[in-house]
């Protein structure tokens, strides 16, 4: 069985026993530096200080955004 998380509009599968349990674990799994991103879970903003405690449930929709060049 796999666990599905919707990340930035795309479904991503994780083996159930190795699915990330928190936002911090997800970022580590994706090799994304926590300091550069901000996140929403199901439309609710998660502050960076709360990444480690933000629990993930199967089927949730997660947005990971960061600053890029812009005018």
């Amino acid at each position: 069985m796999n666990t599905t998380l919707r990340i930035n509009g795309n479904d991503k599968q994780f083996p159930q026993d190795r699915a990330p349990k928190t936002l911090a674990e997800l970022l580590a799994e994706l090799k994304i530096d926590q300091a550069t991103v901000v996140a929403e879970i199901d439309g609710r903003i998660v502050e960076r200080k709360d990444f480690a405690s933000a629990a993930l449930q199967p089927g949730q929709s997660i947005e990971l955004v960061r600053f890029v060049g812009g005018g």
């Binding site: 990340i7 994304i32 901000v38 960061r66 060049g69 812009g70 005018g71």
Partner: protein
């Protein structure tokens, strides 16, 4: 130069810089440093989770430059408010360049949605710098709801056309009680000087510098132009007239005038 106050911040540079379209973060960092700016805009986008390596913020010294996140990509007020709140969570600051541009062809701002978003964001504690068309009435409505500036366009974003909206900009500048930042469409240092000469408090430039053959040199040119334009504004320009007004004396010519 005299200082510019926006909300609780004072700026000695009246040139704000966008960080888009640079060939590299290294060139961007050098252009920013050369421009003398104290505020740079950035955008928020989804992380590319398959290929995450670009870290823009590593190239921007936040002890020197205030970050001004924008809401680019927002097509209505709700999207702009969502982006602003994400930007605040990401940057830790409450400054936001509010832009709502539903039409990707001309990227003209939607005044109705911008006003709606501005009201929500001001109430939520944001320092709101709205990007608007050069509409003096909308500028008044925005300052009435508490925006920190108004930022009318000179011409469409990235079009490098200069002050196409001059007459309306002059009215906004005459009437505004908040700083007026001319944003978008300035393609040359002379355009920036032009905006400052008619009384803009500052200008925001991205494409004209980033897309120049030598962005660092162009940043230097814009710095000088903005300073020249500001000093000229404060100096008070001489009267324009349709006919000549001799600079040299009209007496004592080396000829004998016939009676």
């Amino acid at each position: 130069m005299d200082t510019l106050k926006i909300a609780d911040r004072e700026f000695t540079s009246r040139l704000f810089i966008g960080t888009g379209k640079y060939a590299s973060n290294e060139i961007m960092a050098r252009a920013i440093a050369t421009s003398g700016t104290q505020m740079v805009t950035v955008a928020l986008r989804r992380v590319d989770i398959e290929n995450e390596n670009d870290n823009l913020l590593a190239a921007i010294d936040r002890s020197k430059y205030l970050l001004l996140p924008n809401t680019s990509g927002a097509r209505d007020a709700a999207e702009a408010v969502r982006l602003a709140r994400l930007a605040r969570a990401a940057s830790g600051i409450r400054w936001i360049k509010l832009e709502v541009t539903p039409d990707p062809y001309y990227l003209l701002p939607d005044g109705t949605e911008t006003l709606k978003a501005a009201e929500i964001l001001v109430k939520d504690g944001f320092v709101v710098l709205p990007y608007i068309n050069a509409d003096p009435i909308l500028a008044k409505r925005l300052q009435d709801v508490g925006t920190a500036t108004v930022m009318p366009l000179a011409a469409p974003i990235g079009s490098n056309q200069g002050l196409q909206t001059r007459a309306a900009l002059e009215i906004i500048i005459e009437q505004a009680t908040v700083p007026v930042v001319v944003d978008a469409g300035l393609g040359l240092p002379s355009h920036a000087a032009d905006a400052m000469e008619i009384g803009a408090d500052a200008v925001l430039v991205n494409t004209a510098i980033a897309a120049a053959a030598d962005p660092v040199a162009m940043a230097a040119a814009f710095k000088l132009a903005v300073e020249a334009g500001r000093i000229a504004r404060l100096a008070g320009s001489a009267q324009r007239s349709r006919t000549a007004s001799a600079s040299s004396p009209l007496t004592g010519f080396l000829r004998d005038d016939k009676p």
